[in-house]
């Protein structure tokens, strides 16, 4: 008896709007096609350019074998610099993110103002690419790995600040409420209920970000922030493709090693 209006209601509205729904679907479909079409034109996608350019690519590949062995030592040293840049960028970034997180998670933020403030800082750090920050810091503190560290610090705050806060927002509030009722202060609740709850997530996010920083640090080298990226950039400029090949092999090895390490660490800690 009570279920009657429930079944009649939805069915009736469905019938009335079926025509509309088809129209809307067609419009959405046309919109998507238009979106792709304009993107194809704007980006000047051209099959013929790809075919003619193929020779150029083959040429470069031919000119890059065999990889040059005389830059190997330098490449290894510089890849360590890139890793170091990533490491300190991640470390500073994690530290700053941890300071911001208690304010940036809605469920534990002390008040609305602090929450918005923390979110704006994180939002700015995230919306501007690492590369732009690197350019700014290169101008400010000069060429070398240090501006890279600064840029990666900001980038790390941008992602980890947000992801840390979201991990806290998604966490089980049971322990938090229980400790709150027990009269625990905000600091105590954060240390004993929030942190243990989200620690595995945090560790895996930090390791992921370290991994990302290694790859991003590479690109930052292109704008003068040191490391192996800077080396690759210079070799490219001088058309030394055999050097580039060696440097890329070193990069590949480094990225794989870091990835492996972070997987192993994550397995251990989480």
């Amino acid at each position: 008896m009570t279920s009657e209006p429930l079944t009649i209601g939805p069915v009736a509205t469905t019938r009335r709007s079926r025509g509309w729904r088809i129209v809307i679907r067609v419009l959405i479909g046309a919109g998507i096609v238009a979106l792709y079409a304009q993107a194809w034109i704007k980006t000047e996608i051209s099959v013929s350019a790809l075919v003619t350019g193929w020779h150029g690519m083959l040429d470069i590949i031919k000119r890059s074998v065999p990889p040059s062995t005389d830059v190997l030592g330098d490449a290894l040293r510089q890849s360590v610099v890139t890793f170091d840049t990533a490491l300190w960028g991640a470390t500073f970034g994690v530290f700053l993110s941890l300071l911001l997180t208690p304010f940036a998670a809605r469920n534990i933020a002390p008040n609305r103002f602090m929450y918005e403030f923390a979110r704006v800082i994180i939002g700015i750090a995230r919306s501007i690419p690492d590369l732009i920050f690197a350019l700014i810091f290169v101008t400010a503190v000069g060429l070398g790995p240090f501006p890279g560290v600064l840029a990666l610090t900001v980038g790390t705050v941008g992602t980890l600040g947000k992801l840390f806060a979201e991990a806290i927002e998604d966490m089980d509030m049971g322990p938090v409420d229980a400790l709150r009722v027990a009269g625990a202060s905000k600091t105590q609740v954060f240390l004993h209920a929030v942190m243990p709850g989200v620690l595995p997530t945090f560790v895996s996010l930090v390791l992921y970000r370290l991994d990302y920083n290694v790859r991003s640090g590479l690109v930052l080298g292109f704008v003068g922030a040191g490391g192996i990226g800077f080396m690759i950039f210079n070799s490219m400029q001088l058309f030394q493709y055999q050097q580039v090949f060696t440097e890329l092999l070193v990069v590949l090895a480094m990225v794989l090693i870091v990835e492996r390490l972070s997987t192993v660490l994550r397995g251990r800690i989480v």
Partner: protein, 274 residues
């Protein structure tokens, strides 16, 4: 929804002036709560808990039972009414004062409430955080020796001394609830509020938890409020039964004085949502 049929009042002995009675650990007067612009979840609830008493609150899903407990410790802010906890009006307090006053009440939840990556003993000790300085409570390792001993005694009290060093996520549901009771003891709370503490437990574990709750009421002279879903368990363990329907108390009496039909009426036309 809220009509005049619910005229039954609390037992007359409890109707003393708000906050004045030393024999009452928790007194709730005219409590009202609504969420946003929705209907009243609690429509003026009066209830009192005395030491040595296990009070069981029965009601359908969405009747306002959990909201009542959460308002009682100000995890939720009531819209009207007063909450007197050990003679203090919680609504007048803030910050440190509120934290200190609230410490008199401990809460036990239905879902996961222990910090999973910490040991049972540490979880019990967390009950005492409110009395610890920030410096001494930065990490469980820094907790004072006396606190560890007290936590161990509390665990022993609930029969789980042998689980002290097990991580909380290794405990069974029933054991976890008993650890939560131990935490309440370590908190030195005067009132324990349990929100469906046996909802996800098998009958044996349910009995163990409820026996324990009744014992800490009768032996340690705490006031225990327990929201339950199972009328038979409620009858078996309660010293007093309180029925809530649509945010109003419809009976508040000893279990022997409550008729089966009165309890059945709580669950008629039960809404689907909590």
């Amino acid at each position: 929804m809220i009509d005049g049929t619910f005229t039954e009042l609390n037992d007359p002995g409890a109707a003393a002036a708000p906050g004045s009675s030393a024999s009452e650990l928790l007194r709730i007067v005219g409590l009202e709560k609504r969420f946003g612009s929705g209907p009243l979840v609690l429509g003026g609830v009066d209830v009192a808990v005395r030491p040595g008493e296990l009070l069981v609150v029965l009601g359908a899903n969405g009747s306002g039972k959990s909201t009542l407990l959460r308002c009682a410790v100000r995890l939720l802010q009531p819209d009207a009414g007063q909450v007197w906890l050990c003679g203090q009006d919680l609504a007048t307090l803030n910050g440190k004062q509120l934290r200190d006053a609230r410490r008199q009440a401990a809460m036990i939840f239905q879902q996961i409430q222990l910090v999973r990556r910490r040991t049972a003993l540490e979880n019990v000790a967390f009950g005492a955080l409110g009395r610890l300085s920030t410096r001494k409570s930065l990490a469980p390792r820094l907790f004072p020796k006396e606190l560890r001993n007290e936590a161990a005694r509390s665990l022993e009290r609930v029969g789980l001394a042998h689980k002290a060093n097990d991580r909380a996520d290794r405990l069974s549901g029933g054991q976890a609830q008993r650890v939560a009771v131990a935490r309440a003891l370590c908190q030195r709370a005067a009132v324990v509020l349990a929100d469906e503490p046996v909802a996800s437990l098998d009958p044996q574990a349910s009995d163990a938890v409820l026996t324990l709750l009744r014992d800490i009421a009768h032996v340690e002279r705490l006031g225990v409020v327990c929201v339950l879903h199972q009328p038979d368990l409620a009858r078996r363990y309660a010293d007093r039964l309180v029925g809530i329907l649509n945010g109003l108390i419809v009976f508040d009496r000893r279990p022997g004085d409550v008729e089966g039909a009165e309890i059945d009426r709580l669950y008629v036309g039960e809404p689907d949502d909590e």
